[in-house]
């Protein structure tokens, strides 16, 4: 009995082994077949892919963007003026400001990831922005409009102001392998690792809205942002010309330390020192974006400086503008000329009422749309400059032209 059992077990084992070998052989064959099939398919695909690529490129190049307008009726997909980079100053203080103003414009970049030059249509782009502020909602709207125009598959991720979350989004984006990433870094220094990771993963990246550090710029395809410095120089000139180049100026700043702080305060102070020496700086304060606090500061200035205070430069045209204009009204000083960074609805309403003298035009929708236009240029084979910087269109909004920019985007 035992013998029979042993024979049966051995026979079964041999049968099982035979089956296994037979299976392996068949598997290999199939794989080869598959390989054969695949190679045949690949050849056919290559041919058709080449065709598809060129037709996709042709289709992409045919896209007409001239009529694409934002919700304020302004052209959405046009580049603004790019100012030439002046030589580096030798003075330490000036050099610090220069480094912020022209960040990334002279960086020695690593070789950029080459464009497939197969057209923008159908590309998957991930946009990682900063937070859920009404401005960013308008940025997202602009990006969606541009994506629709270029037929791009766009994903927008919002880290809600959390740097760790933004870092996780970078890892997630690398795992999902999109064709391109648009990133607005929450922290200029932390962006070095973010852009490096994307570069190492072979994913081209565009920095938008916030200009990262020089170190990060090595890995960045291009930057798109509002030219805050350029805009404010224009706005400052507009104000100085209106008051005959002579005034006492008070400054309410943005959050100290950030790029808007320098662009909307230090930049203007320096501009006046160099070009309008009679535009005297009376005081610089940073009460934040709380209207009652700004109101108190401006009231205190009126008490302190009296008629000497004739102009106010604000970093924001909403809460700061309301606080400042109300203080002036309450103290009967409607003669004080106030300029601010714009262009929210509140700011434009104040310009319309004549309470604000002028504001800058900073299209939030264009801030989201322009990076997609740059991405389109990249995929469509347009050669991007080595230190490509694309700024948003600029304008000064005054009582005379404010209607052209209505309704407000946010």
């Amino acid at each position: 009995m035992k013998r029979k059992m042993t024979v049966c077990v051995v026979a079964m084992l041999i049968f099982a082994l035979m089956l296994t070998f037979a299976g392996c052989g068949a598997g290999k064959e199939t794989t080869t077949d598959k390989g054969k099939d695949t190679s045949t398919e690949t050849k056919t695909d290559k041919g058709s892919n080449e065709g598809a690529k060129s037709s996709n490129l042709e289709e992409s190049l045919k896209i007409d963007i001239s009529d694409v307008k934002g919700s304020d009726g302004q052209p959405l997909l046009i580049y603004g003026e790019t100012r030439p980079v002046p030589p580096k100053p030798t003075d330490k203080e000036e050099l610090e400001l220069w480094n912020i103003e022209y960040a990334g414009r002279t960086t020695e970049k690593l070789p950029m990831i080459p464009s497939p030059k197969d057209g923008i249509i159908g590309k998957r782009i991930i946009m990682i922005h900063q937070s859920e502020h009404p401005y960013w909602t308008a940025v997202s709207n602009g990006a969606k409009m541009a994506a629709e125009t270029y037929k791009v598959d766009l994903d927008i991720w919002n880290p809600n102001g959390d740097l760790n979350q933004q870092n996780q989004f970078i890892d997630k984006a690398i795992a999902e392998k999109p064709d391109l990433v648009l990133l607005s870094p929450l922290d200029a220094k932390a962006s070095v690792q973010q852009f490096k990771k994307l570069y190492d993963a072979g994913i081209p990246a565009i920095a938008f809205n916030m200009i990262p550090t020089d170190e990060a710029m090595k890995y960045v395809l291009a930057i798109t942002a509002p030219d805050d410095f350029g805009q404010f120089k224009k706005l400052a000139k507009h104000l100085a010309d209106a008051v005959g180049g002579k005034a006492g100026v008070g400054y309410i700043t943005h959050i100290p330390g950030g790029s808007p702080y320098f662009a909307r305060c230090t930049n203007v102070v320096k501009y006046y020192e160099e070009n309008y020496p009679d535009m005297k700086t009376l005081d610089i304060q940073s009460p934040g974006f709380d209207a009652p606090k700004v109101k108190q500061v401006v009231s205190d200035w009126i008490t302190r400086f009296g008629d000497e205070l004739t102009c106010i430069v604000l970093a924001d045209d909403s809460a700061q503008a309301l606080g400042a204009t109300q203080a002036c009204e309450e103290d009967g000083r409607t003669d004080i000329k106030i300029i601010a960074a714009g262009n929210s609805k509140v700011g434009m309403d104040l310009v319309k009422q004549g309470k604000l003298f002028a504001i800058t035009y900073q299209s939030a929708e264009a801030d989201g749309a322009i990076p997609i236009k740059v991405a389109a240029d990249y995929f469509n084979g347009v050669e991007l400059d080595k230190n490509a910087a694309f700024y948003l269109p600029q304008a000064i909004i005054t009582k005379e032209n404010v209607e052209e920019y209505m309704p407000a985007q946010w």
Partner: protein, 383 residues
């Protein structure tokens, strides 16, 4: 009898046969000759509290600027702190009840402002009522959870603040609401706007200009030359003073704040008392939110940010104890006014914001230290 203290002791012994004791015994006890050191400085600090600080600052203000005592300057200071004053009055009730702080105040302000803007489509008064009701609802939830379930007030109200922030952001898809805007897009977001539109599509045709002007004008109305919000702050503070000092509820709140267990054993309905304190806090935040939204001319989640900590700073400066049961409305006003005064004087001198913050922090530490030390010296506080 001058230096004697007569103590009558009645001894009742179990076994009178074994011990024979006199029933009335007179003991002579030496008088406690130790003296409480009542130094003048501590007495002044304790008696006048933050007003002592205000007096010092006022003298300093007069020295640095001749315009300091001008009516317009003082009015500017009061005007600037009036929003904070309204919110701080409410939070004072929470602190007085021994519950540290109401951290949901910023979002209560924001959400009340947003609701007010939504409902002002039917008229300003509807907007204000809806905003106040919102405050009552938030306060009731806070009060119930903290009073009944005994959740930690800081943790719960902070969580509430997050929930409300998420709610506003989700509801408005990250956008903000303007009082004078009414298009189809406007009625797709918000808490009640989609419902309003569904019930009556003609709401789109409402002429909002006048109503928006009335709403925006709330923060820019100046009866008798002073801003309306200032009158409201004083009204809220006077009402707060009456409720806190002259009513049974105020006394009960003091007992609850001083010792919760004693209050409970004394038969005080602690849950109801705590709940009412949080409702007062949220209603005050809602009133502050209405004015703040009117000042900003926009309803948004960021309206009121930072007002929780500012209010607590003002209240501690004003002599309120985080342990509860101590403080008064005069101190609340004093604390709020001190913050305005510091900012005003430092700006008049020409000191920048960073230095101002450092000086404010240093003054805060100094005031709290001197106050606590004086109270200890007088043997009134061992906290």
């Amino acid at each position: 009898m001058k230096n004697l203290m007569k103590i009558n002791c009645c001894w009742r012994l179990m076994d009178e046969e074994v011990f024979s004791v006199e029933e009335n015994v007179c003991y002579e006890v030496n008088k406690d000759t130790r003296r409480i050191k009542l130094d003048l400085f501590s007495t002044i600090v304790t008696k006048f509290g933050v007003f002592f600080m205000i007096a010092i600052l006022a003298v300093f203000g007069i020295i640095v600027s001749p315009k300091f005592l001008s009516g317009s300057n003082l009015l500017n200071i009061l005007n600037a702190v009036s929003y904070l004053g309204i919110v701080a009055t409410g939070i004072a009730f929470v602190i007085y009840s021994g519950h540290y702080a109401d951290m949901s105040a910023p979002m209560t302000m924001a959400i009340s402002g947003v609701i007010c803007v939504e409902f002002m489509r039917y008229g300003l008064i509807y907007g204000i009522i809806a905003a106040v009701i919102t405050g009552i609802i938030i306060g009731s939830i806070n009060g119930f959870v903290i009073g009944k379930i005994r959740c930690n007030s800081v943790i719960w109200t902070m969580a509430m603040n997050f929930i409300l922030e998420g709610l506003v952001r989700w509801s408005y898809h990250g956008t903000q609401i303007y009082p004078d805007m009414a298009n189809e897009q406007t009625y797709k977001t918000g808490f009640f706007l989609p419902l309003m539109y569904k019930l009556d599509p003609n709401i789109l045709n409402i002429d909002l200009e006048a109503r928006a002007a009335a709403f925006n004008g709330l923060a820019q109305t100046y009866p008798l030359g002073a801003p309306l919000v200032l009158y409201v702050m004083f009204a809220v503070m006077i009402a707060g003073y009456i409720v806190m000092s002259k009513t049974t509820f105020g006394n009960q709140l003091k007992v609850v704040g001083s010792n919760y267990n004693v209050a409970k054993m004394s038969g005080i309905n602690c849950t109801r008392t705590v709940m009412f304190a949080f409702i007062v806090s949220s209603v005050c935040a809602a009133i502050g939110g209405i004015f703040m939204t009117s000042l900003n001319q926009v309803g948004a989640f960021y309206v009121g940010q930072g007002y929780d900590f500012q209010a607590v700073t003002a209240l501690i400066l004003g002599g309120m104890s985080l342990a509860g049961g101590r403080g008064n409305m005069a101190g609340v006003f004093g604390g709020v006014f001190t913050l305005g005064l510091i900012s005003n004087i430092l700006t008049l001198i020409g000191i920048g914001t960073f230095t101002q913050k450092m000086i404010t922090g240093a003054i805060f530490i100094l005031v709290v230290y001197v106050n606590a030390k004086s109270l200890r010296k007088l043997g009134r506080d061992y906290a």
